[in-house]
């Protein structure tokens, strides 16, 4: 026995890789949304995923978070947790958080309540019925409110926030879950320049502690945060490398028609 062997159920990323996707295929009515895709995400890295519409970016996130079960292939979280055997809440509990493309905060709840629901704690029924925030959890929420710049909106209904603020609230909810892997789908869509810059800083500050996978169309934004970029095309990985390498790759240029 190795002394540092993780307990069962805990993520074993001792080999440096936290997320393994191998030969994953998904088809919808004959259309191959993912085609024999293999992808590895390292512990603590910030990875950007780009690709034209229909390349399979969102399907990929659906597979990792348990929304879609692949036809073939394997998906492991660390070396021991088989994600294909878990459903959405179990995967969330294991430590994979997701921000959706369309901001999907709970509009009828306040900003504070949104964060409270996301808070990493016992999420089974009876403890939830009796749950009261303790001092530490309140501090946690306050910290996240500060990070996402919504401290003065804590009592406001989430539905009344601006589009950019909703995006930030979603990121805040993701932070409250304390995930080991954050999947962030189009975080800067609809944001102003200033907001985009702050988002970039935030995501950069998270890497190391957590692995962050960002899907985004905004190339300028990708350039400002990316170390490694993976390009998806027609459901598989076209190429992988630094932003410069990727942008000078003739195949990528062809796929994007000169972008």
């Amino acid at each position: 026995m190795i002394a540092l062997a993780p307990k069962p159920g805990e993520v074993d990323a001792s080999h440096g890789t936290i997320l393994y996707l191998e030969s994953v295929s998904v088809s919808f009515d004959g259309f191959k949304a993912l085609n024999n895709l293999s992808l590895y995400i390292d512990k603590g890295e910030l990875r950007c995923l780009i690709g034209p519409n229909g390349a399979g970016k969102t399907t990929l996130m659906d597979v990792i978070t348990g929304k879609t079960k692949p036809d073939t292939g394997s998906v492991f979280f660390g070396q021991t947790i088989d994600l294909l055997k878990l459903d959405e809440p179990a995967i969330a509990k294991a430590g994979i958080g997701r921000k959706f493309q369309k901001p999907s905060v709970f509009e009828n709840l306040t900003v504070l309540e949104n964060l409270e629901l996301a808070l990493a704690t016992d999420k089974s029924v009876w403890p939830t019925l009796l749950a009261k925030l303790n001092a530490e959890q309140r501090d946690n929420i306050d910290k996240v409110l500060l990070v996402i710049g919504l401290s003065e909106y804590r009592k406001q209904q989430a539905g009344a926030l601006s589009h950019g603020q909703k995006q930030w609230l979603e990121i805040g909810m993701l932070l409250m879950q304390e995930p080991k892997v954050m999947l962030v789908d189009e975080p800067v869509a609809g944001m102003t320049h200033q907001e985009i810059e702050r988002t970039a800083q935030l995501l950069l500050s998270l890497q190391g502690e957590r692995s962050v996978v960002v899907v985004e169309h905004d190339m300028e934004f990708i350039r400002s945060i990316a170390k490694r970029v993976t390009v998806l095309h027609e459901g598989s990985v076209l190429t992988e490398g630094t932003m410069d390498e990727v942008q000078n790759d003739p195949r990528v240029i062809q796929v994007y028609l000169g972008e």
Binding site: K67, F106, S124, V125, T128, L130
Partner: protein, 367 residues
């Protein structure tokens, strides 16, 4: 300190006060003043108002699942009827040998069917405590089994609504059958005693009215507590963004199941209070139409408010009593029209209208 929120929540305060006054003053007026006095309230009125309060509790139970969790359950009357049958079975066993056939063990309808023995599921109903348990457990267990299957398979929206209608329809057909042992289409009736007191007596009617009022208030306070807990916020979140709730780690199906079972139990209590006040329970209580009416009460009162369900149930049923007395054939058209008008013009129901009054707006400092 406990009454603090109640003083601030004016509509809740006034409604609770109104219910308390109703269930104390009306029985007094019935018992103290002689029938000749203009202040006398008839026993019929007492039972009628008790009935409205049972409907209020039924409406409240539906509001929990529909208004807060977004499950348009169209079978709420099934739980109401099951609670009613559980109470009816107790009342039948209380008749003893005073039935037409004078059989001390078997209810009349069983003697009529030539049954020799009491069916196993009728045992225990001679005990009031056992009947009380069954009043909440039978609806609760049905809701648990049904909800477990439906929510786990992620049946939602209109499909779920249709199955709940099918559920209550199937139960109605089953209870119509004599072989089921629940009195067939006649149901259970000719009740004599409840806890040793005559169910027809004025004092008993007053007691049942008070019990109904207390139940509505207790259920309202309990529901309010649930809705204001973190579980209540999870349930509201499920209504608005079901998939999202799963991705932050909640087992959506278990939360739906919890609120569904809780709601079914409240509906069962409502049915149990209803039966001794109307004096009969028969399979027509399972009619799919009854469940649809409950939805209309809640919509008219204002869904997702708890209070709206209580107000809606009482007002609509009062209107029903009046209209079916004057113009019986008009009632269903009136109900349909009221539902359409409220849906189109007052999506938040009557309670929403009250909250939008100018005086309320300035108080709340709304934008």
């Amino acid at each position: 300190m406990k009454s603090h929120w109640l003083m601030k929540d004016k509509p809740a305060f006034w409604l609770m006060t109104a219910i308390v006054l109703t269930v104390t003053l009306l029985p007094l007026a019935n018992l103290v003043f002689p029938a000749s006095s203009p202040l006398h309230i008839t026993a019929y009125s007492i039972s009628l108002i008790g009935k409205y309060l049972c409907y209020a509790l039924l409406g409240l139970s539906l509001d929990l699942v529909w208004g807060y969790c977004g499950i348009l359950a169209l079978g709420q009357s099934a739980f109401f009827a099951l609670g009613g049958y559980a109470m009816g079975m107790y009342l039948m066993r209380q008749i003893g040998n005073r039935g037409v056939y004078g059989n001390s063990l078997l209810p009349d309808f069983m003697v009529f069917l030539n049954w020799q023995e009491l069916p196993w599921y009728w045992h225990g109903f001679d005990q009031f405590w056992f009947a009380l348990l069954m009043i909440v457990f039978v609806p609760g267990i049905l809701a648990f089994v049904f909800g477990w299957l439906a929510f786990r398979s992620r049946v939602t929206g209109v499909y779920l609504s249709i199955i709940t209608q099918a559920l209550t329809y199937a139960l109605m057909l089953a209870f119509f059958r004599n072989e089921m042992g629940f009195g067939g289409n006649n149901g259970l009736t000719d009740f004599k005693d409840l806890l040793g007191f005559n169910v027809q007596a004025d004092g008993m009617r007053a007691a049942l009215l008070i019990a109904s009022g207390v139940s509505v208030i207790a259920a309202f306070l309990a529901s309010r507590w649930v809705i204001r807990s973190k579980l209540g916020r999870v349930v509201t979140a499920i209504r608005d963004q079901e998939a999202r709730v799963r991705f932050i780690g909640y087992r959506v199906e278990l939360f739906k199941l919890w609120i569904f079972v809780f709601s079914a139990m409240l509906a069962g209590i409502a049915g149990a209070l209803y039966v001794p006040q109307v004096g009969i329970i028969n399979p027509s209580e399972f009619s799919p139409l009854n469940s649809l009416e409950v939805v209309i009460w809640v919509a008219i009162g204002g869904r997702g408010t708890l209070l709206g369900a209580i107000v809606g149930a009482i007002l609509v049923n009062y209107a029903k009593t009046l209209l079916t007395g004057w113009l019986p054939e008009v009632w269903l058209f009136f109900l349909g029209a009221a539902f359409i008008l409220v849906t189109v013009l007052l999506p938040d129901g009557l309670l929403g209208l009250w909250q939008r009054l100018p005086s309320q707006k300035t108080k709340a400092g709304a934008v």
